[in-house]
């Protein structure tokens, strides 16, 4: 079992609906803690909790503003080791997440589900310590549109 903490930077693309459907690029960041349990057969399960923010607010040509938000996200995932050399492992995992976010200043709270696929690498660096890197792809179902986030995360882990 590995406990890890990581930071992630993302490019978030929002897609609205309607004839003037916008494709708007925001950027996102998150700080995440996770726990991952690896089974000997190559399966893994992972739970994580993150603080995420997406900004800035952006306007479409028709005057619709897709606003920034920030909040917390809890996720679960299951996956498989693609490679597991002596020095670490490369894994692919996927699962759902639920985010509770707050609009800036307005006090409006929203909850939205998302689906997350992640390619992660864990490299042992000292006994009981590891570096973790991940390439997550997350689809956020915001109800009035979709956001797709492609990120890059780096962190450290303890455990084995």
């Amino acid at each position: 079992m590995i406990f890890d903490a990581s930071v992630q930077a993302s490019l978030v693309v929002s897609m609205g609906s309607g004839a003037f459907s916008p494709i708007l690029p925001h950027y996102g960041s998150s700080e995440r803690i996770g726990v991952e349990y690896a089974f000997p057969a190559g399966l893994l399960v992972r739970g994580s909790l993150a603080y995420l923010s997406v900004e800035p607010s952006l306007y479409t040509t028709t005057g619709i503003r897709y606003r920034s938000f920030a909040g917390f996200s809890a996720g679960l995932a299951a996956g498989y080791w693609l490679f597991s050399p002596e020095w670490g492992r490369l894994a692919l995992s996927a699962g759902p997440a639920l985010s509770l976010v707050l609009g800036p200043q307005s006090g409006l709270v929203s909850l939205f589900p998302s689906a997350r696929v992640e390619l992660s690498a864990i490299v042992g660096w000292a006994p009981g310590f590891a570096l973790r890197a991940a390439l997550p792809l997350e689809l956020m179902f915001r109800g009035d549109g979709l956001s797709l986030a492609l990120g890059l995360a780096f962190g450290v882990g303890i455990g084995q």
Binding site: S14, G63, L100, G103, L108, F112, R142, G143, D144
Partner: protein, 309 residues
Amino acid sequence: MMPKTRLARAGRILFPLAALTALVSCSFVAQGAESRPKGTAFVFGVSEYKAHKLTFPDDDAVSLSALLNRRGWISKAVVNSNATKAAIKNAIEVAAANLDSSSSFLFYFSGHGEGGKDKEACIIPYDGIKGKADLATENWISASELKAWTAKLPTKNVIVILDTCYSGGFIETGASLDLAPQNYGKLDDGIAPSFPLESLGYFNELLARSLASKDQEGPLHLSAAGSDELSFEADTWSHGVFTYFLLEAAEDGDEDGDGKVSALEAFAYAKRRLADAWNKKRADWLYEGRYMDYLPRASGGFRDLVLYE
């Protein structure tokens, strides 16, 4: 001076990707540099009821309409005896017949409102009061009526702003939830729960809203007060309190500095100013047996609309 009530008025960390984002933003947001078509606004205000008169709603409507005309809208103010139920319905029907899916539409009403814990919220047009004891309730416009009328608009870019008592009763749709209690105030039902832990108490409603995608593109509602609150006008500002701060938001409400003030930016500004300039002094003042502090409410999802360009 004692204000007059509207009786029932009703990446950090993201250096590499930020650069990429900026690059991509330039190409996409270039579309946004084109000026969008002007929106259509109908702005109603009634002070001169036949009884239970108010002082400033007609001024609210005239001032807001003039401001909107300067800031990206084609707006018409309709006040006092012209602001009847039929006129309001007709304005929305005309808009429904003439707008298209890319248009923006704004409806504003300032005047009396009615509602409360067990009543559907209504706004009261000019012909909704025929005498001191003659309330022509058949001419009141309920939340469900207004919703049915605006549902016929061909665009989803609709802003509804109500400066009346109990106007929070018009707020029901949207992916987001305004967590302030409907009768705000430490001496009333309390204040908004803190985010995120206390707001988890609203998990079921938030989840239902998240799943009810059908309603998430309804009008963006801004209301002066909760569904169980009075709203006020004040001689100090010569306007309805909420409307005064909405007007002020045109100059000072651009929180993200992008040169435009969205409806939710204006709302956030007005809410903060109202809390500071009005509520702090009046949390324990009583008017007709009710505490005078109140709070604007909003509904909507992740999309917001330009209010002032």
